[in-house]
Symmetry: C2
Subunit: 205 residues, 2 copies
DNA sequence: GGCTAAACCCAAGAATTATTGGGGCTTGCG
DNA sequence: CGCAAGCCCCAATAATTCTTGGGTTTAGCC
């Protein structure tokens, strides 16, 4: 029998690791060689022991998966598949830009993971139908903020008053109000108190 | 051989279901009789087919686990064990008050789940060490808000202006400002724009 | 009962914030 | 060039929000 494709699992939930073991035990082509529960340890592991496929969770207690991805991508001949429990599409989009070669939700049928592995080995990028739908809605409204508007948005997010902001930026108070009105217009909200919330939805912070 | 203890799994992640299957396949005492991926279906299931133990996820797409718990608890002779991926201790505390008989994190070793089942069968309530630590820090700062203050906090969280709130509650605008000042004092923040953020930290919403 | 504390309410004036109307700057385009 | 569009700025004025000082009611306690 030919050599199996080696897999590294990086996920902080032991129960998920178990699930993946059970899944891949039914597929002779693959073999899980290690399962890590901390993102920080993944980088060192793949340097010392290369694997064919990394299955990577995005949400871990010590570090976000995208940071792990950024570290290990490109090194060796290795494909990374994102397995995520939440639907942070902005972050998933970023992961794909970084070079992730597959995206599957934990809410998808397990066979989607196998499909992603198959696609990755064939040189393709596989995004499960559910994730694909969410990603497609991402590019709808590209809100472009000027540097001044962005600066003021950040101060707003920190809860500063207009007066404080005007001191910090050495501009008059009505100018701050003017920029805030622009933010309201661009973010399409009727009320200042909704600006920060909406900005977070659009991942502008 | 004597009858096994029957288990119902309610979790929207198939991969977690697989993990639990693998886990319980190593323990003869237990048998998973069904695994549901929607909370809404759980209530009907336990009515038609009683089980000994329900392993219940808190974070599901259709409904939160605590609502499922509230529906099924007390009916039949059944214990519910919470298995959660996030650490929303306020919600977990509420689940225990509702009558959950165990709390385990998905980040805990799988054997914690077995331990919780054992304890439940022995009539005890088991909370994994990690979860227990988080719960103990919950009772530190009991911020008591009056009903009026709570109502206004909710409107603030929805981004409504003072004027809108004064219309909704049929009170004068300065009265709204007065209550907001009280919220600022009780939540110990210097600025209105920080109220909602702080309230979320304290799980008042 | 009398006392205190806390919640709730409001009018008037103070403070903050928003809008309007205007000006200057740069960039891209006919 | 001329001109539109976007950004940045501000003074004056308008609107909103806050604070102050005062009132009522309720609940607990001596």
């Amino acid at each position: 029998m030919t050599t199996k494709h080696t897999i590294l699992v990086v996920d902080d939930h032991p129960i998920t690791q178990s699930g993946l073991r059970l899944l891949f035990s039914r597929h002779d082509k693959y073999e899980i060689v290690e399962a890590l529960d901390r993102g920080a340890t993944a980088s060192a592991f793949v340097q010392s022991q290369p694997v064919d496929i990394v299955i990577l969770d995005l949400n871990m207690p010590d570090v976000r998966g995208v940071n792990v991805l950024a570290e290990i991508v490109g090194s060796r001949d290795m494909t990374v598949i994102i397995l995520t429990g939440e639907s942070h599409f902005q972050e998933i989009d970023y992961a794909l830009k970084l070079g992730a070669r597959g995206v599957v939700s934990k809410a998808d049928p397990p066979e989607e993971i196998i499909a992603a592995c198959e696609a990755a080995l064939a040189g393709e990028v596989y995004v499960s139908p559910q994730m694909r739908e969410g990603l497609s809605r991402l590019t709808e409204a590209p809100v472009a903020l000027s540097s001044r508007q962005m600066a003021i948005l950040h101060y707003l997010a920190q809860g500063e008053s207009n007066k404080e902001i005007s001191y910090r930026l050495s501009i008059a108070q009505p100018t701050v109000s003017f920029h805030i009105a622009e933010l309201r217009r661009k973010l399409d909200v009727s009320n200042n108190r909704k600006i920060v919330e909406r900005a977070q939805e659009l991942n502008l912070l």
